[in-house]
Amino acid sequence: MRGFRRIGSVPQLAAAGILGVMLVLCVVPQVVAPLDPLRTQPGRRLQPPSRAHWAGTDYLGRDIWSRVVYGARYSLVPAVTAVLIAGAIGSLLGLAAGYAGGWTDESLMRLTDIFLAVPPLILAMAIATALGPSARNAAIAVIVVWWPSYARLARAEAQVLRTVEYVQAARAGGAGSLRVVLRHILPNQVSSLVVKASLDIGTVLLLLSGLSFLGIGAQPPTPEWGLEVATSRQYMFERPWYTFASSAAIFLAVYSMNILGDAVRERLDPRLRHA
């Protein structure tokens, strides 16, 4: 029983399985979706689910199942990338600010205040609109919106770590700033940054698909999930299955990410370790 619990609970295993499959599909979607997601068939528009088209066909006669499967690549990869880049930029800046202190710290923190002053979706929308609607610009917008929270976290921890004995000792031993930051402070922050990143991915996926749904993210004919829901919207009442496939994909992905995020936190967060 103990060994079993160490691997994870049933929902956690299921979540890991779902995400695992989705990640594989990002690389080799053709394994389960043999049809071309972009091929239109004017004679087969808006068909209900059938043997040939498991999830039906869309308004241009494209196979919905294939579009959802190929959509994993266009939906998950940007979300994960955005979190990684925002996390890297934010943590490095926060680390530098927290370690340097003084004026550097103050100005960086005021800068994060500005970005945290607007709800994420609205700020991302403003940035994406100014850059022009595209999947890449939506991801850039999300990075701009998301890095400050990492900067805050890394900065707070660096401030604490700066004063602990082993860091003082390293400095007294003649280690330069860069070495102290990279060898003694950063490694001690990795787990909290990983915890935050794993909890963030679901939220960022929701944000990105929301931008696409609003028409300022991925553009047609990309089979991105949020965009698929937006396109299917006008057919929703007569053909609910059209909306169902991509909606379910987003929900499953975010749900799995949230479950796994909590699991990662349970393992890595020192405050929860003995609870």
């Binding site: 205040d113 002053a117 929308m125 609109t129 100014a130 929301g210 987003i250 929900f251 749900y255």
Partner: protein
Amino acid sequence: MLPFLARRLILLLVVLIGLSAFTFALTHLVPTDPARAALGFDASPDMVSQYRREMGLDRSLPVQYGLYLRNLVRGDLGVSIMTRRSVAEDLARAIPATLELTLASLVLSVVIGGALGVLAAVRRGGLTDMLATAVPVAQLSIPVFVLGLLLLLVFYRILGWLPFGGRLDPSLTLTPITGLYTVDALVHGDWKAFRSAVLHLILPAVALSNLTLAEMTRMTRSAMLETLGHDYIQTARSKGLPERRVIAHHVLRNAAIPVLTVMGLRVGFLLGGAVITETIFSWPGIGRYAWEGARNVDLNVVMGVTLVVALAYALINVAVDVLYGALDPRVRLS
């Protein structure tokens, strides 16, 4: 208290000025010429250069930013390309709709989420508790737009109980007083309009409240459990107070403080979520306005909404801080 407030307000001003610099920079990123965008492609070169002169577009960037900031301070957010009205005027018209929707969602979240959280904590391990821990994870995973469409499918299309969108039945008219239709209808004593306004409000409010309701449930539950573990609860119980009284007087009051503070900060979530919700339910608030602005690359609109929402959000944060100090005597504002 006063020095604290002054410091907060100064900080707020610094943030807003910084944000205005950012929105200004964003509007200059766009590859399109603002004069062309405003006048259209068939405008003569003379008209374009005259427009550029009038709007100060021929000046240096710092001067342009100075003009921009001066206009902002005067409450001038520029003119919308789509509506040809001033953005401030459009916003004034749209804000009451968003206010009504956000308030309704906040009330739903606090009342339902709070009740669920309390029940779950009081009967720990029971069915309510299991639901109150499992359901929020699912709630937090549903995109607002999927939930909104699902609600429309079920309650409009299949059951036919609730209207498709908008704020009021088109056959009815209502002279706005506050701009909150439910309140206005009550003030006029117009029951038909009140009924219609409430029916129109239900689905968008439920869709928008989803995330905050889930958070409220989770937080109330954990705050209650934490408070229940304190010694003074044991004391209250051992004094022989009835459990109901212990919960109502000792636990609830103390658990409410952290919950309300965090919920205050979550209003930002609601304002962000309002963009998608208002778009789905054709709710004529600032979220839908921002979306229309974004679709038409009407930057004055998008940046105007960004700045106004930031101002509202910042003021709410200050209010929450002040409220926190008032509710919790342990917090000494310094």
